[in-house]
Subunit: 288 residues, 4 copies
Amino acid sequence: MKATTKPWIFTASCPSVIGTVDVVTGYMAEAGNYIDEIHSFDDREANRFFIRVEFYPQSADFTADEFTAEFTSRSKQFEMEWELTPPNHRPRVAIMVSKYDHCLNDLLYRYRTGQLNIEVPVIISNHPDLESLAQWHNIPYYHLPITADTKPQQEAQIRELIEQYDAELVVLARYMQVLSSEMCQYLDGRAINIHHSLLPGFKGARPYHQAWEKGVKMVGATAHYVNDDLDEGPIISQGIQTVDHAHYPEDLVAKGQDVERVTLFNAIKCHVEKRVFLNGKRTVVFGR
Amino acid sequence: MKATTKPWIFTASCPSVIGTVDVVTGYMAEAGNYIDEIHSFDDREANRFFIRVEFYPQSADFTADEFTAEFTSRSKQFEMEWELTPPNHRPRVAIMVSKYDHCLNDLLYRYRTGQLNIEVPVIISNHPDLESLAQWHNIPYYHLPITADTKPQQEAQIRELIEQYDAELVVLARYMQVLSSEMCQYLDGRAINIHHSLLPGFKGARPYHQAWEKGVKMVGATAHYVNDDLDEGPIISQGIQTVDHAHYPEDLVAKGQDVERVTLFNAIKCHVEKRVFLNGKRTVVFGR
Amino acid sequence: MKATTKPWIFTASCPSVIGTVDVVTGYMAEAGNYIDEIHSFDDREANRFFIRVEFYPQSADFTADEFTAEFTSRSKQFEMEWELTPPNHRPRVAIMVSKYDHCLNDLLYRYRTGQLNIEVPVIISNHPDLESLAQWHNIPYYHLPITADTKPQQEAQIRELIEQYDAELVVLARYMQVLSSEMCQYLDGRAINIHHSLLPGFKGARPYHQAWEKGVKMVGATAHYVNDDLDEGPIISQGIQTVDHAHYPEDLVAKGQDVERVTLFNAIKCHVEKRVFLNGKRTVVFGR
Amino acid sequence: MKATTKPWIFTASCPSVIGTVDVVTGYMAEAGNYIDEIHSFDDREANRFFIRVEFYPQSADFTADEFTAEFTSRSKQFEMEWELTPPNHRPRVAIMVSKYDHCLNDLLYRYRTGQLNIEVPVIISNHPDLESLAQWHNIPYYHLPITADTKPQQEAQIRELIEQYDAELVVLARYMQVLSSEMCQYLDGRAINIHHSLLPGFKGARPYHQAWEKGVKMVGATAHYVNDDLDEGPIISQGIQTVDHAHYPEDLVAKGQDVERVTLFNAIKCHVEKRVFLNGKRTVVFGR
């Protein structure tokens, strides 16, 4: 059972009833799939069940199609929403940025070295500043400046790029433009944003300056899914950094960057590894 | 220069001008006081200077009166507010509680074992539950139940007890009553409260339930001075604890208790060691 | 599926082969047991499988005996070592201490308030100092002073007390005596010790003094099972605390106490909730 | 007193006697130098005093030469070793690497964005792999492969490069070659190494594999000055990361990289800002 390859990943959620685990693990055993790791969670309040299984097929004939054909009928009675992710899946991730490059630099480093198992087919920005960084990584960079007047056209352009480059996830890596409501809906559930505060504290603009005004002793960062309510999307991960009275706003900005980039990386990694489930306004994250 | 005894502590603040450090350290040298540790901070925004000095007098004749007589005239030109704390000073701290005992138990343990160099002359509660804990530590316990109607009289009673027992600091160790505006003003700057969230997030009632609703991945606690604006007093210390989707509100309540008690202890220790300075709505804390 | 009661807990380990998950979850489904939470781990190096399941029987007739009768035959082919823990199980924990009381005080607090779901039938010490703390909690306290000469008799006495009070777990809460080899074997796998360093760093005596000599910037604590090799037993949990140059050994001793007690508590809680599995010289801990 | 420029930094150490603070601050006041921040520490064991002062000269005529002329005579009686660092000082830092690039990538990012106020005139490696990264930052890269036979010549070559490029600090950013005793002596006190464990735990080769063998629940990193005793140089900073049973050695390697780079960055930043003092086998670090 040595892991010479990566596992297949099965994820599912459905209403909480007896037999939800068994329908999954029973089929796995029958089909000769070796389960390497299993996580489940049953939300008592929402009455909803979540499961994630890593497995290694033992049969040389294993195919996703066969799995689907066999499992679909078994799972039907449970109203199960499920997904099967093959070991060689590398999600295509479009990154959006403005001028700050600490998150972009970090993500590209982890992409380049294989820490993040993704493709980055395109980088989109409302500023030209970070183009050379993109170029060094051989990634197309689109500079789409935005004003109040041009926002609708430019957002349309962005949507076109996302589709043209077939991105299944969009990462807002300190993209400093408020998205329109249409754009938020378009990205709902498939875009991750990093906000530079411990949400719901310090929503909106200049959170480090707000934090300094309040004299807090910790600053943080929050990675969350984009939804229609600005800075209110379901939280995936959070990080913090202690600070003291000698930190002026510019010091908080500098010190917070390390937390932002690690927090964003953690969220993307969990998403890519299918560890994150939407659960109403909250998330289930099967950690590592 | 071996520390066989505790040091004297000198603290001061004044407007930022040249010579503020020198007037302190110059006099210390002249008077033969050995400086063991010195912290200073100059707030560029507020244009205010803060200093804390630990020293060991080398002269057998050293007295606070002489220090005061000598230093007052030197410091006058700097509009310096200063304080001299002798090594044997043990501040008298009145503790107020309701039903939760995790903070009280922790504080009394540290008081009993000398980790907190304080006296606890009195414990005041709006519930009878924690009386036996007080008794085991031989501390008078006053049960003053409070209703909307009796609040003015009971608060008057509390003020009387604070004065009768000569408390220089009041600690609200999960005291679950909203204080009246008069009471807040009475306690302004000399009472420390523990709030069970990372302020300014989740102000007000049931912060762990608020945190659960938002699906946060970290819960925290904040120790702050009481002032007139509920949950808005200057922050002294904060602590956090990571959590995940499997934590229901009652789990957050349980898990947060360790953070609350350590955060409150840290704030009291810093206050008692004269490490905390009020600086407008914020604090300067010379950490250890 | 609301949790009005505590769950039953099923734990097992066996060699890694196909079907190990299914034999558990299949029976659970058949028997009408609702699975609330499931963790598994497959050690690729040791080729060993570990599983922990929390479940709520749905049948009013559910009994441990029936579970045992039914499951034993199914699990036999997997060489499974398994255990079923009923919701009302409260393990009996004997605590051993010397003079430091920070761990004992913490454990008794959590025992008294129900944070730790245990019974503490007896406290054993080689010093008389902590008797009054035990008395306040109505727990028998045995003072068994130990010298090199009396160690064999006294350890025999301790074993007798452990059996007389029917303790299934022994906690060495800063018990400052080196145990004999016989005693270690007797306690193997059912005693938890707290060592005041981040093992394997600073084994042996006076770890905080060793840490100070080395000028480390962090001190830690390690809770581990007792086995025959002093300070080498399988690690359950570790905690750390940052320090700086201004911390003399006595400051490290004081500051480390908070880490020690929380680290020990975490280990005991995990053990009691059946989250810890021995895996050779290491442990599997299904965290919360 | 607004900080529109960076401060001058004064650092000193000397035996502990009365008047050490005063000789510094007295002269600062007399010379019209505004003190922005002051840290001092008095080591009771070593009987040695350390001080760091940030100041802004108020006189337009202020020069380092005048400071030196004036202060030298005053400080003489204290046997003070002192140093004056002008605001525009940017230390030249030579970086040595092997194949791992996570530390190098991080340092170059912080160098490029001004987070680290340094020059990087040269990068030296025993492997060719990281040349393109150096090129993108326009930094000369020297590939000096090393075998047991060629070590003396190659180390001589490295010393020549350090001198040719006038580096005042050398950073071993995961340079995976054991240095000869001569080289260690040459670098004594002016080279910083990052070791991927919480020293003194897991010295030597493959520390993450050692950590996995022991089943630790935390892995760490240590940045320390190079001295003659391998992995025993004075510690500047340490960092940790929690892990669990599901982390195989390769996972520890991956997870530890974030701790390594942040820990190394912290050490270099403190060194560059003159916050670190050697104190026998330990360090004094006046933190931020």
